[in-house]
Symmetry: C2
Subunit: 228 residues, 2 copies
Amino acid sequence: MHRTKVRIVEDALDANNTIAQANRADFDRAGVTVVNFMSAPGAGKTSLLERVVGDVPQVRVGVLEGDVQGSMDAERLAGLHVPVTQLNTDPSFGGECHLDANMVRSALPELPLQEIDMLVIENVGNLVCPAEFKVGEDVRVMVSSVTEGEDKPLKYPLMFRTCDLVLVNKIDLLPHLDYDLDRFLYNVDQVNPAAERLLVSARTGAGIDAWRDWLSDVAARSREGAIA
Amino acid sequence: MHRTKVRIVEDALDANNTIAQANRADFDRAGVTVVNFMSAPGAGKTSLLERVVGDVPQVRVGVLEGDVQGSMDAERLAGLHVPVTQLNTDPSFGGECHLDANMVRSALPELPLQEIDMLVIENVGNLVCPAEFKVGEDVRVMVSSVTEGEDKPLKYPLMFRTCDLVLVNKIDLLPHLDYDLDRFLYNVDQVNPAAERLLVSARTGAGIDAWRDWLSDVAARSREGAIA
């Protein structure tokens, strides 16, 4: 029973990877760099996008907004005059807790790939399943808010292990928290020493220039074919 | 394709409900009231349990600790001299993002049901799938931290719709946030006007007496058979 379940999961992930590769090939052909953007609920993904998507130098950014229900985040971003496409995961009872490659594939015809250089896919707020499903991305970025505690890399290791950049958000709240930033960064090292890290605050703007530069640099490296 | 997937999900949830009813019957026979305790990662579930599990009046509390990996939270709680049982969900690639009735059933032989009056099941940190899977609980409690934003009831409606109590945690941070508490409570009303709400801070102890009293009252009502 147990082995059967594991095999079903492995088969599903294999099938997902095949579709993710097809997505990636389509994005490459269109010259679009893709960022899979993930975090727990309320960590600040949309706020961090609002800060940068309109003005990454020489990079036209579009957003694919994944949510269980509703389009509140998409409406926030649409006000910034960037192309935003909504993808809801709620056909089943409580909705899917992650985007998968097939969901992103179903959204491809809606995406204005000729008008953008970079697509940021804002995943469903969740630290578990989104990490398991590739969607065709070049890079993975996750947000970890300092209000979530230092232990999260150890409790949700796959998410931290598979990301290229950790945005440590809400650093304006550090003076008001019992949060040990060094301990958090040490915990990131335990699961993914190669992960880049940026300390940011969507509220105050701290670190936002570095976040914007990081996206610009990823787009440049992708154009040069320097991202595997 | 799409209809087939929905049917598979419905079948899985039906099978889960059957096992959840068996769990509930076993808990009832043992005279144990069960709380399914849920939230996003880092909202403060374990801290809120640390504050109360050792001293709910006339209620011996045990904890079943659900995590993808590790036993850090269980170790924190074990220091309070209450029975704690660890349940990890990681046999598959990234681990399951929720507890289901069968996982809880597999832990039943490990639970000291004769030594406790209440079992708190701390679910995996996630606002989507834990809401879909009954595990045999009498009541559902969720934690929503004020750092997560006011929009969460509208973005994760099933979680808010199916809970009996919302603990609004980290209220000590309110002076430092752009968070509209009235708007959050209004949003809770939109999806679940019957949900009780308590404003708490695990850090300062604000509202903790009311939280402890709530658990005591649930145990009393359960003993009287007043919970459906």
